[in-house]
Structures are given as C-alpha cells and as structure tokens.
Amino acid sequence: MSDIDYKDRGSLLNPLKSWAFFGRPPVTEPLEPRAASANYRGFHVNDWEKCVGCSTCQKVCDNAAITMVRIPGLPVDPVKGVRDERPAIDYGRCCWCGLCVDICPTGSLALSREYVHTCTEEQISSYFVLPDSSGMHGKPFGLGWSKTADADLVDLGRQEMRELEPEQRIGNFAEIVAGYDDQQALLEASRCVQCGMCHDACPTHMHAPEYIRAIWQGQIEEAVRLIYETNPFAHVCGRVCTRRCEDACSIGKRGEPIAIRWLKRYAMDAVPHERIKQIAAAGKATTASGRRVAIVGAGPAGLTAAFDLAKKGHAVTVFEALAQPGGMTRWGIPEYRLPYDRIDRDIDVIRSVGVDIRCNVKIGQDITLEELRNTHDAVLIALGLQQGRQTRIPHSEHEKVFRAVDLLNKITAGEPFELPHCAVVIGGGNVAMDIARSLARMQKQQYGQVDVVVTALEDQQHFMADPDEIKEALEEGIVIRDNCGPQGCEISASGKLIGLKTWKVLSIFDEHNRFAPRYDQAGETIHACDTVIEAIGQFADTSLLGDALTESLEWNRGRLKIDAAGRTSESWLWAAGDMVSGPDVVTAVADGHRVAASIHEAMSVMEKTK
C-alpha cells in the first residue's frame, strides 16, 4: 500500500531539498490581539437586559465555576420571574465548554471572540468576573459562541394536552382536559430547569421545582407529599389554578412554560385517594389542644385554614351557608373545568384530618357571629365573592336580566331555571366564559343549538379571561363581540326583554393604561336576545357581620382591614380569602395558611397567659 517501500533505505540528499525553504518568507503573526473565529468560545458576555437571574447556567456548569451575585438596583419581580441576580464566572474553574450558553433559558449568555486573559499572582481576583455585555476587558471583540436554534438545550415546546374536541364536549359537562399520561408527565417534568421562579411567584409558594423533580424521578407519592406541604386544594389547583408560576417560568421567556398546573394534576390523579389521605395527614398533632376555632365559609381559604389548624390539634368547625362545601370552586366553576368529584376529594382529605364542616348554616340567621365568638377561641370569616355586580344600565332590573354567579349557582345545585334560547352575556372575564359555555352546553342539550353572545368593554386582547377559555368558547360556537359598552336593555312594548344596546368602545384605557373608555355613539348595536346575563364582577356580602360589628371593625377601601397575618381590628376575628384578597383560589389558599398560623400563634399565647 505504501508508496515508500520499507526496504528503501532513503537518501542523504533528500533532506537537502528542504533548503529551498531558506528562500521563503517566514510566517509572521502580529502580537496585536486579534478576534478569534466567529464561533469561538471565549469569555462570557451576559446581556443583563435579558438575563433574569434564573441560575440555570450555574446548574449546568460541570466545573462549579458560576456564582450567583445579587446586584441591588436591578429589577426584581417574582410575578414576572425576574431576579436581581447575575452569574459571575470563576475563570480558574471554567473550561469554556459553553453549556451555559446552550442551556440559558433567556438566551442572555454568549461567549466572546477574545482569547487572552492573564495576570500576576497579586491580581488573581481578576479571574473572578461578573460578565455583562461590555466584554471581559471592556473591549469589543464581538460575540462568538452564541445561542442558535438547533443547538438550544432548552426544550421550548410543551407536551401537548389531549382535550375533548369541540363537537365532543359541547353537548355535555364532561371534563375537557384529559390530563397527562405517565410518559407525557415525565417528559414535561423533564423540561424543568429547577430555577424556582414558580415557587417565588406562587402566592402560597408551592414547592413546584421539587414536586416536578419528584414526578420526573417517578416518585409520585413524594410529589403529592410536597404538594400537600403548601396546598390542600391540590386537585382544585391542579385543574383551575391561575398558575402565576407558569407566567414566571424561565422556560416561558422564550418558549412555552412548564405545564406546572397539569403536572400537579397528574400527581394528584396518579396516587390513590386513600393514600393521599395518609400523606396529607402526616405530621398531624397526636394530642388535642383543647382550643376551638370557628370558620365561616367552606371555600379554599376557610378550609385551608381549617386543615392547618386541625393538623395542629385544634377543634375546627366550618360553617357553610350553602348545601355543600367548596365555595366558589364548586358554585362558580363549571363541571367541565373542575369536576365536582375532585372538589369532593380535596374536601374529603381536609375532613379526614378532623375538620368538622357544617353546611346549610347561615351565620347571622341560624347562629350569630357573637354566639360563635362566645363558644370559640377564635373566629375566621372567609367569604367568597358570591354576589354578582350589576351594570345598572336602563331596564337592567328586568326579570330576564340575571347575574352570572346566580345562574352558575343554580346549575351546580341542579335547580331548574328557564334556559334562554338566546342569551347575551356582559363581561369578558372567566365568569363570563363560564356562564356562556355552561349555557351553550345546556342549549345544545335542550334546544340542539347554541346561541350565546358575549359582549365586553375590553377588546379581546385585554379580556380578563384566560386565553384558553376564549379559544374554547369560540370553538364551542359562542360569539364574542368585544369593545361593546352596554347602554341599556331593550324592552318591547309588551314588556319583554328583546335585546341589549351597546355602544362601540373606541378605547378603554388611556395612554397611561388607566381606565378611560371612549365611546363611539355611531357604533350603537342592538344584540337581540331573550336574556341578558351580567358577568362583570362580584363582591362579598358582608351583611352577616351585622350593623354593630360592621361599625366597630376597621375597614380599608371597602374591604375588612386586616393585619399582615389576616387578623381584623377585633382581636378574636380573622378574615381571609376572596373577601379580603380578591378572587383567586391559590391566593385564598395562601391566605388560609397565613391566617391559620396567626390564629395558632394567638391561641398559643392565650394558653401561656392563662
């Protein structure tokens, strides 16, 4: 094979041919620094505008070369998933593999085209660098190794959730979302980079990174245990949580955030109910404290507080005015979003730690708050926003004008009502979507066709409703007419409701994003219908407090004034939930924990002073 034969003994003259090289110019490299190749893995460059301090670079760094540093003055926003931390690099450890660049969720990190850094022993601290966009030595060498789409190590796409098709779901109240199977949950959980932005954003600070990790490791019971550490409304939140965690998720900066809510749901559905009860009961006090707590309202806030207090050994009684516990999660949220049996499971877990829930008891009528005060060591009121706001436009007092919450309540209770043939809903929030989609289902069942129109002041981009809700409502045949300012209900000569008159809203917010609607009268529309449903907002009915207590309590802009822990100005009374924090399940859960801790502490003090 070789073209030099092994036996060829070579020549003494051949090497002399290389003397020709004496005639060639030598290779000369200038000593001036030059930029390396376009792909070079030089020193770190970090775009602080993009970086959110998620520390994923630190986690992937196999040489332990990255330190996170908090820098005062940088923006911090847990809700948006932004920390005032930035990575600093130890060039005594870095090996320039560039994995930090490839995994960076925001794409803020890159490496420069600069080759050299050197120093004397005394200047060793110059090896520890806080990179920004100016480059290692403040000189522009340009970006080298940077994020490219095909080399991205972050999986930006979410595992698709199987859902009922519109035609499958419109005629019934079956749950739309199928939930993840084992494989999907594992893959979805594996996308998480464990930055913990979700934990910071969550009102009740759920241990989301930890339970996602546990799901990925196949330790589903451990995931449930971690979930129960912060949230006894686990089934409910696994389905209808407003999931601020996902808004904060680092992966969501460029891609689809981890489906944290669906993972929670997966874990809860995957573990048998009886086992969940055992897990939830772990750590319950073995002896009774002898203290009694009364809680008014069996919604997420009240029951979360009840769960915590019962686990601490207190005797907790929850009074619920309606026929079943669950609060707005049961009476406000339709079954296709949150099946009642899931609420029942959450409540069964809460009951199983010893919480006594008494339904159909109306405080102020059946028992007064004063009586509760006299027979308990502490009282918590945790009311939901059960009352619907009215538009009070002309003729809105007509008998065919309803409040959405009242109808949703009837639907849950199974109470009959005259189903509209043609309904117009006012409002662009989730409640509006809930009632529209519920009515659409019933219309499909009873009349065979859907005729529901949703009108709202806002343009569709600014609806308060979840974008998924809007999308699904449209799929189900609901008509959405945005930018409609209600001006009055139209009544026929015979006194029948025949439509809703609206004006076109030119803009709803001014340049400072303040509410300042501008109407165009010429855009007047009559939306023909036989029923108008107001779904614009809700409030809590605080009349159960009674006049005297209302007068003696401190208030803060329409809401009960409470301290940071949820205690009112009356030392025996605490308040929590939507009535003080606004409508949100997970915020109510957070409230419940906070107020339970405060009640527990207050009762401990009572014990000592006794």
């Binding site: 003494l12 196999d62 090996c95 080399a151």
Partner: protein, 380 residues
C-alpha cells in the same frame, strides 16, 4: 577459610543505573514516566510508571450529568480528542436509543479524520524529535495548527472541541467551511513531498528507525496491540472497516499495513494513513453539501435526563488504535460507570516495557514515541 556464617552480599554492579524517562519527556505526549535500568547503554529492565495526571476521569464522570461529561472526555487524549467525544456520544446514544441524524454522522467523520491527521502530524514531529531531528517537529506542529484553526472555526475550541454531544453535534458548519477544509487539504497534500524529503526518505531517519522496537504479529496480538502499531506488524484490521460505526461503511479507503513491526514500519503506516484520511475527507467534503437535515437528534433537558439502565461497549479507531468506552447506566441522570479503554493502556505499559527491555538507551525515547501513546488513556 570463610567463617561458617559467611554470606555473600550481592552488590549491584557499579555500571548499572536506574534512569527516569519522564514524567516530563519528549518521548511521550504527556506526564508519564518510564523507569529503566541500564547496564552500560543497554536496558536491562523497564517499568512504566503512571499516576502523574491526578485526574481520575472515570470517577469524575460518575458524578456528572450525561451531557456534562462531554466537556471532560476530550481531555483524555489531548492530541486526538475527537474520538473520545464521538465514542462517548455513541455510547450514550446507544443506551438512550437515539438515532443520530445523517448530517451529524458525516460531520463526525469529518472531525474524526481531521483529528487523525492532526494527531499524525504531531506524531511525525515527535517521532523525528526523538531521533534528534527538530525541523519535522516544527513543521508538524505548524501544519497541525491549520487543522486547529478549522476546529476553532467549527467548534469554538482549538484543542478541546467539546463539539460532539449525545444526539449529534452542537453547531452546524459555518458558511463556506467546506471550502476552507478543501483548501487546507490541498495545502497538506502539497506538503507531503516536503515531509518525505525531510523525514521519510531521509537516510538518517530511516536508518535510525529501522529495526527499533520491533515486534512480530504474534507478539502484538499477545500483548493486545491495536491500531497503526498492529497494522505495522501486517494485520490489516481497522475498527472503521471491521466493526463499522457512523458512515464509514459508505466511504472508500484502504488500510495500510507494513510487515516489519518496528518504529520505521509504524511511522510508514501512519504516513500512509494520513493520505487515506485526506482521501476520506475529500469524499466527505464532496458529500456533505448534499446531506441536509438536523445536526442533532432532540435530547431532553440535560438537567433532567435519565438514560435507561443497561450497558454498552462502543469502539472507534483513534489515531492510536482501538478506543472503547464501556458505559453502564443504572437508569439515572449520570453514568453509573464509565470505563475508558484507551489503546495506550496497552502500548504505554506492557508493550513499552517489553520493547524497551534489551534496547539501547538512545533508542528508548524513540520506542516510546513510535508507539504513539497518550498517558491519560492509561492514567484515567
């Protein structure tokens, strides 16, 4: 008369010495020592001595995520790092059932052959230097630098490319890259006559290398010799052809052999192999533009990637011989065990000890280098 209790005390002869080749010595590509006993200028025994690297790659790998290890493996052979990256990646891919896109496979072949050329150029220089000729060393290092330029452009790193990743490669080719590869190939081809004149047909070198560190094919097989060192004893075995991986079965190349099994034969085999690598690269450069598609199969988030439990033994032909990775997963996010079988593990220990014993002291360095051993493959 001797007393009854007289015992003769055996004193070493005064003309016998123990010498250290290394741990820093141009005879070997790294920190490694050969302890030789010499009687006059004849070596009476030789003992290889490792342990100067203080790394423990195999243990380190057990503590790092599957992906993190890509930054570690190229360091196991500095002169020829690509086979390390590819062999490790192949193992992870086989464990994970990952299909590597065709384009990535061709890009890997390109790197492997570029790396082989760089390693062989390094070898020419080193081998020449151990016979006292330094110009080929400067030439070898300088021409190797052109390949490092290509690697820098491709991977962002000159020596530690960290470019292969389980699933494929980390970046696509830069625009116009293949033309620049072609130009470098043209240049290297034009340089071959220069190397021949200075080294391979240089009477001094030929005489100096002939008959040095010779072994028969039987000995080679007995001692586990592989790669060019084995082919220099006449056995035409090459993992690329006989246990093919990537797309080597679609490439046309020959397997050069020599029969003599000495340092000169080993040098000639590598010289021919360099030409074969140039030939392979010409084919790759012609083919790659017609192979589209992804450069990497989708892999999960590196921070949460469990590989199914199992074990795998992947082999590639490095410039030094048979390189293999035995990788065991217990279903976790890190390797449970990685065993690196570097060709030098044989060449630098038992083979070297055998060949050095009985050799003359001035030939020991040449024997060491002619085996082209890489100490970190031994001292993992």
């Amino acid at each position: 008369m001797r007393p009854e209790n007289y015992q003769s005390v055996s004193q070493p002869p005064s003309n016998e010495f123990e010498l250290f080749y290394g741990p820093n010595h141009p005879g070997i590509e790294g920190n490694y020592a050969l302890k030789v006993r010499v009687h006059g200028d004849e070596v009476t025994s030789a003992r290889a001595d490792g342990g100067y690297l203080h790394r423990g790659f195999e243990k380190l790998m057990e503590g790092r995520l599957w992906i993190q290890n890509i930054a570690l493996v190229p360091r196991i052979c500095v002169p020829d790092p690509v086979p390390m990256e590819v062999c490790y990646s192949l193992a992870v891919e086989e464990l994970g059932g990952i299909e590597v896109p065709l384009r990535a496979q061709w890009i890997r072949v390109m790197q492997l052959e570029l790396s082989r050329i760089a390693a062989h150029l390094f070898f020419f220089g080193g081998h020449a230097a151990t016979t006292g000729m330094y110009t080929p060393m400067f030439w070898g290092i300088t021409d190797r630098d052109l390949i490092l330029d290509l690697f820098e452009e491709l991977s962002g790193g000159r020596v530690y490319h960290i470019y292969n990743i389980p699933g494929g490669v980390r970046r696509d080719l830069p625009p116009g890259y293949l033309e620049r590869v072609s130009k470098t190939l043209d240049y290297l081809e034009s340089r071959l006559p220069d190397y021949d004149n200075l080294l391979f047909t240089n009477k001094v070198f030929v005489h100096r290398a002939t008959g040095i560190g010779a072994m028969t094919q039987e000995q080679a097989l007995e001692w586990g010799v592989t790669g060019p060192n084995l082919r220099a004893t006449g056995l035409a075995f090459d993992v690329r052809r006989d246990d093919p991986y990537l797309v080597y079965d679609q490439l046309d190349f020959d397997i050069p052999v020599e029969a003599a099994g000495d340092a000169w034969a080993r040098s000639l085999v590598r010289r021919s192999e360099l030409k074969e690598s140039l030939r392979i690269l010409r084919q790759v450069v012609a083919k790659l533009p017609h192979i589209g598609g992804a450069i990497r199969a989708p892999i999960p988030n590196p921070l949460a990637w469990n590989l199914p439990a199992g074990d795998v033994y992947t082999r590639v032909e490095s410039s030094k011989g048979e390189l293999a990775y035995y990788v065991v997963s217990n279903g976790g996010d890190k390797p449970y065990r990685v065993h690196v079988r570097g060709p030098s593990a044989m060449h630098a220990v038992q083979v070297l000890e055998h060949l050095a014993t009985g050799a003359r002291i001035e030939d020991v360095a040449q024997i060491m280098f002619s085996l082209d051993a890489c100490p970190p493959e031994v001292d993992r």
